[in-house]
Symmetry: C2
Subunit: 619 residues, 2 copies
């Protein structure tokens, strides 16, 4: 019985070793049945996972989402069969399900995703789990809960920079409720990792990043339990560096090359299981300590938001409206938290930070981790708003992509879009963000033109679960909507429309005002155009736009401060081309340069003059 450092649950070391053997058997059986998968990557982690799930963590196995359960994130998602085996052994579902691994009729996929109640986030793109863990650990602190967050990493994924972004922030915020375990099994996919079993290299790195480090034999159950029992000591996050062997526990697999991502054939599996079976014990019946009964966090949505107070014609940048809205919404919605990447004085998230410093996380210049942190907050019931220059979300595209697979509740707000930012030049201009965010599965992409629509769309974002992207602009634009106007997702506003209009111009953000100017200029020439504010880029208001187009001889002109690929023009063409609508596009067709906003919009052909010229060429 393990009693070191007041460990919470009482269980034989031998029983845990038996459970580890059973998890190994499940991992082999499942991958052999599937005919694919990563059994040897499961085997190196089996003792660690057995110790965590059956000898250390506090959680209610019948309620994986309990607000005060310890969290476990399998960052090395390719060891999914091991995770599934552990939960099966807790009794959550029958172990017989495990042999359905990777089948189209099973939720036990090749890598875990939140279709499973115990997977808070999708993993499988390496190096992302730690950022999510940082978000959860910060959330526990905010909610005054005592659950801990455990993240299991492989050693190969330590090469990902996102790991060091997360490590740095955890060190800065002294997250002593976060425990990272690194399964240092020495072998990567295509060769040995850079550092093999040089445990001191990992130790120095984590130590330099502000962590308490413990190096252990990852197959010695007593050592594992001992170091886990002492987690949370001190003021630093803890990393347990576990020296392990890939394929551990099976003589012909252990520490052997060329076994990455390969299932055993039936004979090999039988041989391996014959080695493991004598030790194997079930986890079912092990008493798992319940989470402490603390007050559940208040994660209830408000009934209504305080009203807006703009006057038509007020000049307000949509990025500033974002800061105002976030603060206004945050006052009545305790779920709202925010984070930024050292741009808060530009994105205006600073307004929220000043009012609610406890609910704001400065993530410094590390966008990958920021998105992971936000995803972690979202997975714990918060409504996280992460902001930076829109183009710097491209730094975190993989994290956003995986958030899509996680079906996460994640709100991204990107400022400084397009050539209309002016003199800073192309490195700071988001010109591909619409393409990027539209391509995220399940995403909603919003692009307001004035302060009222920006604020109202932010309400929509706070109210609705899912991945939302709000594209805000740097220049000040006039308020054109009344304070009580509604902006449903999938809607659009027809701002100008008269019988005999020649073309329907679809615009958003700064180009909307160019379209309105063009409408005035064309009117003087006796040419009418319909002008639509496509504030909802995805989903697009296809019916509104189609109906307008049908009244203008099926002619549409899109105008966007974005490259022509994957943005507003492609969205409209992709949706409506099948209906026989003809979509012409104005967009930034080449690499832009520094200059004044109005000079750049003229030079790259997305201003009122360009619209006038194009409309005249079409009509």
């Amino acid at each position: 019985m393990n009693t070191v450092f007041g460990v919470t649950n009482e269980i034989d070391t031998e029983r845990l070793q038996g459970i580890a053997a059973q998890l190994r058997i499940h991992s082999i059986t499942a991958t052999t049945a599937a005919g694919s998968g990563h059994p040897t990557s499961c085997l190196s982690s089996a003792d660690l996972v057995a110790a965590l799930f059956f000898g250390h963590m506090r959680y209610n196995p019948k309620d994986p989402k309990h607000y005060n359960n310890d969290r476990f994130i399998l960052s090395k998602g390719h060891a999914a069969p091991l995770l599934y085996a552990a939960w099966a052994e807790t009794g959550l579902f029958p172990a017989s399900e495990l042999t359905k691994l990777r089948r189209i009729d099973s939720d036990l996929e090749g890598h875990p995703i939140p279709r499973l109640p115990f997977a808070d986030v999708a993993t499988g793109s390496l190096g992302q789990g730690m950022s999510v863990g940082v978000g959860m650990a910060l959330c526990a602190r905010l909610d005054k809960l005592d659950y801990k967050t455990y993240v299991l990493l492989g050693d190969g994924e330590i090469a990902e920079g996102s790991v060091w972004e997360a490590a740095s922030l955890a060190g800065i915020y002294k997250l002593n409720n976060l425990v990272v375990i690194v399964d240092v099994n020495r072998l990567g996919q295509s060769q040995e990792t850079a550092f093999g079993h040089q445990m001191d290299v990992y130790e120095k790195r984590f130590s330099a990043f502000g962590w308490r480090t413990e190096v252990i034999d990852g197959h010695d159950m007593d050592e594992i339990l001992e170091v886990l029992a002492a987690d949370g000591l001190g003021e630093q996050p803890l990393v347990i560096l576990a020296r392990t062997y890939k394929g551990a526990g099976v003589s012909f697999l252990q520490d052997k090359d060329n076994w990455h991502g390969k299932p055993l054939n039936k004979e090999e599996a039988a041989k391996a299981i014959a080695e493991l079976q004598p030790k194997a014990q079930s986890g079912v019946g092990v008493e798992i300590p319940s989470p402490n009964e603390l007050s559940a966090p208040n994660n209830t949505a408000p009934a209504a938001y305080p009203p807006l107070n703009y006057k038509l014609g007020d000049l307000v940048a949509t990025r500033e409206a974002y800061g105002t809205a976030l603060t206004r919404i945050g006052e009545v919605d305790p779920r709202v938290v925010a984070m930024d990447g050292d741009t808060k004085n530009s994105t205006f998230s600073e307004k929220f930070f000043k009012k609610f410093p406890d609910r704001f996380t400065e993530c410094f210049i590390a966008e990958q981790n920021m998105v992971g942190v936000a995803t972690g907050f979202g997975a714990r019931g918060k409504v996280p708003f992460a902001s930076t220059f829109a183009t710097f979300f491209s730094r975190a595209f993989d994290q956003i992509r995986v958030a899509g697979i996680s079906m996460a509740n994640l709100k991204l707000v990107g400022s400084h879009v397009g050539v209309s930012i002016g003199e800073d030049g192309p490195s700071q201009m988001a010109l591909e963000d619409l393409a990027m965010m539209r391509a995220v599965v399940g995403s909603t992409v919003l692009y307001p033109s004035d302060a009222v629509s920006a604020e109202k769309l932010l309400e929509v974002m706070a109210q609705n679960r899912g991945i939302y992207f709000l594209r805000t602009s740097r220049p000040k634009t006039p308020v054109i909507y009344n304070n009580d106007e509604q902006f449903p997702v999938g809607g659009a506003k027809v701002l100008r429309q008269n019988p005999g209009d020649k073309v329907t111009v679809v615009a958003a953000g700064v180009t909307l005002f160019e379209a309105l100017k063009a409408a005035d200029a064309l009117k003087n020439d006796g040419i009418g155009i319909t002008v639509i504010d496509a504030y909802s880029v995805k989903p697009l208001a296809r019916d509104v736009i189609k109906a307008a187009a049908q009244k203008t001889n099926n002619l549409i002109l899109t105008v966007e401060d974005h490259y022509p690929e994957g943005g507003l023009g492609d969205a409209v063409a992709g949706e409506l081309s099948a209906d026989g609508v003809q979509v012409h596009k104005l967009a930034v067709m080449e690499l832009p340069r520094s200059g004044k906003p109005e000079e750049l919009m003229a030079r790259y052909g997305i201003n009122a003059d360009a619209i006038v010229r194009k409309v005249k060429s079409l009509s």
Copy 2:
């Protein structure tokens, strides 16, 4: 005169201090003239840059691209005016140009880009310069040249994980020809950095990542020169951690908050210049040591490539054809180098690695750095091919975006695309890579269906400068083209076409074979379809596709193993909708799951049956 450690050029410390003052004056004058910019971020680095450019580096100032010039990368690109000032003081262009900073008629943009002959790459998205420097340092070693690569970072950008990816690889490969200087000026954009002037934090981190570290006063010219004179000692890369002050040299700016990214007004500028002027000296006339005369690298393109040797019907995955082609091309093209992120046995870049180990860089699981390393090789005349699972290039989207601004020579090859990878599940499936890569300015996006087209397109990639993306597939597909078929960029192949065809089906990769199967099935029902292989997704063969569509009543059906946003369907609709072509799309419309490739292609409606159904509904 500085003689410590055999420094190469002879110059007074006082003169260098004077040049630093002059660079400060230029930085202030230029940003005040522009009315925007980051003067205080220039001032903190001025002594370091003066020392490098006029007291240490070996280079030909009249030929910034000389093959053996020391390289200087301004990773903190917002200090652009300082870089411009330094080159002006070398005499490359008149200092009077500096006041055109950020103007639309000047190449002196807000952040440096390679329109300028001395900017090897664009910077401005922080944390990217070091990876490029690692690539250059590796290239110098490959080319047996003795130039050194200097990278100047800000302290804020150290939070970016890409910095630690680069630091780790430089440590692993012991790049003692790489020198990183960190301008630790303490102040970020919106607040103090996490570590302020705690130089020991930075020292421990770099040391743990395998670097020799030197901490200096970044405003003490003697200290700067001394530590530079000792660079390249030992077997490790060197990081110089320079303690500096933002706004240094001007009493009312130095170490003051709220001066980030703000120009001085005219009065403030005059006051600052009055402080600096008495010390200021020009750099013009300083003798800069020439690079050593070593053999120039052989970076000449070959006249021809060895022939292919496939038989029609051979079953070969395009990812495997990539490995074969790279090796075949590499045999005759010495410029070709390759790198991978520990997936070389899956992407088949391993074939090249085995044949040319010296020309291959294992980058481990760190895709951001891999893309930066490739960009660095490309900037030094090589033709770099970087490969990983296509979806993991999303990890490096910002680096790829900036490579677009750099007008880089960069070849990306992404494998394992779409649901056709099967059981590994959505985290490993590239379903948004076409959207991402199409949106990169100046990019070319290629998607072969068989081994011949894959190999021929790789020849095109090797021959032509620019950013190219090759999308390869996991499943084996039959060879359908003859070995001498040509595949020009912007082309397409019409594989089936008969009078009376009802619909033009545009496909690529695995869906092409589904379209061919569908054509056979529909033929039995008396329905003809035109089938086009759109191997060039960007630029698209708009004329070929349009001509085919016009023969099928302007009806097009696109089929792609990709989400519907920003991929092949949007590309075709975006290009051809204006011509009255009606584009219908089949694509993966929801988050997919694990399963067998054929099951998934059926379930998500991109197989032959789905095409048959859709064509029937249209005709």
